[in-house]
């Protein structure tokens, strides 16, 4: 399995954001996207995950292996931590590995309603979902926001020792140092210039 991106251009709200992005990520490795606020990391990840169409270029990846995770991680406040995870396991037809609670330090919180978690605990729950659904290609948008140092390390360990070790792929947009050993892609050079074209409204020019 392999993620191949060729000459991809993406747009947001009708305006071109990034153009000419190409890279390859092999099974078992990760790619970290870097770039200042507003450069287009979120837009790129959503396009890769198939949530919005690309302006041009291709994304080559087995579609049913893809998972996307952003700030809003689909946690239901009225369900307990276990119920939340069990739901996603059910939807993806996987069984929930019990090790996931340990891996994301949720052991003490199993029966807590998700609505009563602190910001960081909620985020850990959102990440734990990734360990449950068994998808191989992860697109992660700022996964470690509001996590403390210890939890960041825990997540990096899971990513390295569990996900990547099992031939997974991860593309991660982040502003902090995750402490995993992965190539970084600086997006600034791909910024669409005013006349790059490729916006959805091009047809009217």
């Amino acid at each position: 399995m392999k993620l191949t991106v060729t000459d991809l251009s993406v747009a947001r709200g009708g305006a071109p954001v990034l153009s000419g992005v190409s890279f390859v990520v092999n099974a078992g490795s990760a790619l970290v996207l870097r770039g200042p606020n507003g450069i287009g990391k979120t837009t790129l990840l959503r396009t890769l995950a198939g949530l919005q169409p690309a302006v041009s270029g291709t994304v080559d990846v087995p579609e049913d292996a893809v998972a996307y995770a952003s700030h809003a991680d689909g946690i239901k406040a009225q369900l307990t931590v276990t119920e939340n995870l069990a739901f996603w396991a059910d939807v993806h037809g996987t069984t929930m590995p019990d090790s996931v609670f340990g891996a994301f330090d949720l052991d003490d919180l199993r029966t807590r309603l998700a609505g009563t978690l602190s910001a960081g605990q909620k985020r850990r729950l959102g990440l734990a979902r990734l360990g449950v659904i068994g998808r191989k290609v992860l697109f992660l948008d700022e996964p470690t926001v509001s996590l403390d140092g210890f939890s960041v390390k825990m997540f990096a360990n899971w990513l390295r020792d569990v996900h990547l070790a099992q031939d997974g792929i991860a593309v991660i947009a982040t502003h902090v140092d995750l402490g995993i050993d992965a190539p970084e892609l600086e997006l600034t050079p791909f910024k669409s210039t005013a006349h790059a074209g490729g916006g959805l409204d091009e047809a009217f020019l």
Binding site: K76, W88, V91
Partner: protein
Amino acid sequence: MIALLRRDLTLAVRAGGGFGLGLAFFLIVVVLVPFGVGPEAAVLSRIAPGILWVAALLAALLSLDRTFALDFEDGTLPLLATSPLPLEGVALIKGVAHWITTGLPLTLAAPALGFLLNLEMSAYAWLLASLALGTPALSMIGTFGAALTVGLRRGGLLMSLLVLPLYVPTLIFGAEAVRRGALGLDATTPLLMLAGITLGSFALLPFAASSALRVNLR
């Protein structure tokens, strides 16, 4: 898909009596009408079929509001879209869950509210039958409306605006069936039409709803 249905029902119960509230709204609309119209039994009994159906429709509508909105706001929807569940299935399940939490209790409670409006005795069987056949259509049409407006902040009101015209045929046939029942006539034709609308909406609208969802997710 069963998981989704089970979750939606759990959420409806946990979020403070999801089952009861649609029903309560139904009750209240039926109760308010006499306050507006006046207490004469003859008038009330004349308009009862229409009012019961309009109230059922409004109750269904009001509880629709956040069918998808909650899942959209907390980011569940994009996650479902990238999951193995087909979005058509998601839309269908949402419709079914809405019917179980709203249409079903509403149907069961309608006869009791018929009393309040002095509905003719002969109409009760038809009232039950028409609601049982018609409310699934209300749920599914409403789910489509909710899918169309999911991304909008003030979606609720706009959705009502879009959905209510779509409800008109269901309303006409439903109320007509009850009215014929009240007059002691045969009401098979409107009931058949209702059944047709329900089958048709369950067959087609999940596809329309899922494509609306896909667009709204972009």
